[in-house]
Symmetry: C2
């Protein structure tokens, strides 16, 4: 029987406590309410445009604003054809072995094409979750920071699939969490420690974005290592759709920046990827990334779809879709005041406050034909519940106008009924 008993690098008194128990106890009733009101775990079939059909609600057709397919590419015929053609050509969907062993040649083609498109060394993963899980321990090892184990600093709002690993990383190096976008706190840590790595999102899933310019200054000054999960930023920014983060970094990525991104979301296929800066990083990942060595590759359908999508990214259609997206966002902003109004990022949140009121608002909208996300703890802070809406290039102007008016109407009805909300819906 073996028990580890050494003191970790976070010191005898430090700990990065995760409390799944607490999270469950504090949010369960709201999840139950959301489920009860038919807002969670919907099972649907695609309809035209952004609409879906709900078999369990009598085949009712609703317009979806939950999906993050920001350019509306998730039902693009060329991308689906790409998936089908790859399956027909290969006669296989999946090879059960590690990427460190045997790969479909087509995934090599994909990574080469994406590397060229995004001017980085790209490795594809089954999901962004797998990419993040692979990257963080390699950062902790020090092998990406010249042999010195960095202090790993998480932005408080870093995605759940990043924050999850704090405890594991704490067994290897020092881990800190700072307030969202707190550049000052980060600089203090950079002054104090010879090697620091900052873990953040590019575009945050509840709105907002990374302060990349200021981070790059810290990088120049202190050698700060940046790991940016830009899953929500891919395709919607950049001449090649390289994403929110990559498009702000001219030239080579360099040896101190790694960007994760999605092959779903704006990209329109399925899976995840890492953009690496040099050969040393690529070799390290291809040998030691946990998902590369111990988990499954992206399947052939996803690879084929991604190949078709990256081809589309090289045509004028990309820029047209990016502009369409901006146009839909701007139209939404004319109709519904939100904290994100005026931002070019495609996520909008309407804060309502009380969790049950947020759920009621989402249900009312669903009754009126619009599926939105009711968001509450742990996704947002307690008492700051609301709605999350993703306008996309795949929505028509009519869709946007309709939901905008519906949101304002619902909030007005709440007010008239004496149901207070935090929402500022006066245009």
């Amino acid at each position: 029987m073996s028990i580890n008993a050494k003191t970790g690098p976070n010191g005898a008194g430090s700990n990065l406590r995760r409390s799944t128990d607490s999270l469950i106890r504090h949010s369960r009733s709201h999840f139950d309410a959301a489920h009860f009101h038919g807002l969670m775990a919907l099972y649907a079939r695609p309809s035209t445009g952004r609409a879906v059909v709900l078999p369990h609600e009598g085949e009712r057709r609703v317009v979806d604003f939950v999906r993050c397919s920001y350019l509306g590419l998730d039902n693009h015929p060329k991308i689906i054809d790409g998936a089908i053609e790859a399956l027909v050509k290969y006669g296989a969907l999946h090879w059960s072995c590690a990427r460190t062993r045997l790969n479909f040649a087509i995934i090599g083609e994909l990574e080469l094409a994406l590397s060229e498109l995004f001017d980085a060394r790209v490795i594809a993963f089954s999901t962004v979750l797998a990419a993040n899980m692979s990257a963080l321990p390699l950062i902790a090892s020090g092998h990406l920071t010249g042999g010195a184990k960095p202090v790993i600093v998480f932005d408080r709002l870093a995605h759940a699939t990043l924050a999850y690993h704090k405890g594991t990383l704490a067994g290897e190096t020092k881990v800190e969490t700072i307030e969202h976008n707190d550049i000052e706190a980060l600089e203090t840590l950079c002054k104090k420690h010879p090697a620091v790595a900052y873990i953040c999102d590019g575009v945050y899933s509840m709105g907002g974005c990374v302060k990349l310019e200021q981070l790059r200054l810290l990088q120049d000054r202190y050698g700060l290592f940046l790991y940016i999960d830009d899953a929500h930023g891919i395709s919607i920014f950049g001449d090649n759709g390289e994403g929110y983060a990559r498009s702000q970094i001219g030239g080579s990525l360099g040896d101190r920046t790694i960007i994760a991104a999605s092959l779903g979301k704006g990209f329109g296929a399925s899976g995840g990827l890492l953009m690496l800066g040099n050969d040393h990083q690529e070799q390290l990942f291809r040998r030691f990334a946990v998902a590369h060595a111990f988990s499954a590759s992206l399947n052939v359908a996803a690879i084929g779809a991604a190949l078709a999508s990256q081809a589309l990214h090289r045509t004028p259609e990309l820029q047209n879709l990016q502009l369409e997206l901006q146009s839909r966002i701007a139209l939404f902003d004319c109709l519904v005041p939100t904290e994100q109004r005026g931002s070019s990022l495609p996520i909008r949140t309407v804060e309502i406050g009380d969790e049950l009121r947020a759920i009621a608002a989402a249900r009312t909208l669903l009754n009126r034909g619009f599926y939105t996300s009711a968001i509450f703890f742990p996704t947002v802070r307690k008492g700051r519940a609301g709605l999350r809406i993703c306008p996309t290039a795949g929505h028509s102007e009519g869709d946007i106008t309709a939901i905008g008016e519906a949101i304002v109407a619902v909030l007005e009805e709440f007010e008239q009924a004496g149901v207070g909300t935090n929402a500022d819906f006066k245009r």
Copy 2:
């Protein structure tokens, strides 16, 4: 700036150190050698049967023994057709949203069908990695063990995608590691603590299996919670292909056993799944599983393939393939003595000892037309390197005979050349 400074449940002096740095330093040269000799990260196209074509070696055709498609289903026409049909029907590959929100109706159909097939409550995941990452914190929370946070006990050989999370779990509950299949050590912990959860594989990826009967006795006696990653056992055992673990548990799974499995490997599609025992567990997972709430679903091609495969599992073809597999394993065992000889599990390892000799053996076999895994630290202990071979139902008797003879020939040549190995290859 915030820094956690509380003492965790593993005590002020305890720590579950992960050392990616050490792992890299101790194995890098061997990975480099294996890469140099063209044994790692091969890119290939499918050929007939279990063969693949290597474009980078002049389109040479080799028979693959690395893949874990134990029933040879990964290129079954019905399964590929299932993938294609689902894509055509849905006109979409992937919806970018959490499973807690919007799902393709077809994944609901799949989970229902698998639940019936395996007599459990099944939730599908993009990969087994995602399933494992989702399950472990929920076990740690105590919500699966009647409110009492269990001591989580890892088998030392538990899969890397389980062991990875020890540090994260240690922030929530006590974590221990015991020697492989050390039932006595586990019982000691069961006597000492009111709630214990044991984390192990069903079929281990380097050979061997769980001692399920003895674990079930501990379960009856002490309420031991079992989490079994049976990715390598699925489809190859059980009347319905329910796998090595599930097929040994009669009737309902109950409330103290969760089994993870693959939708790849023996099953022939792509993805992962969890077999849960009751409604309480299922609700918990569908609300709070990290991959369910924060990561992507299995894509439509994988769902369609899995639906076709589960249909095949209900036909006599399943049993025929299971018997073919046993026949190929038995034939291999006639030719090559291994530690696993006589076992019904499909993984065989030939221990050679020295890492560079193992790499040389694998390269020689590849020259002769057989792709095997050169295995070395961290996959196996240092100085215990060797070859891993997966005979499958998709191999012909000729394939098995040829590789068996080739392995023995290579080891004999090594001996004659005065290159010692640990291998006992005298039949």
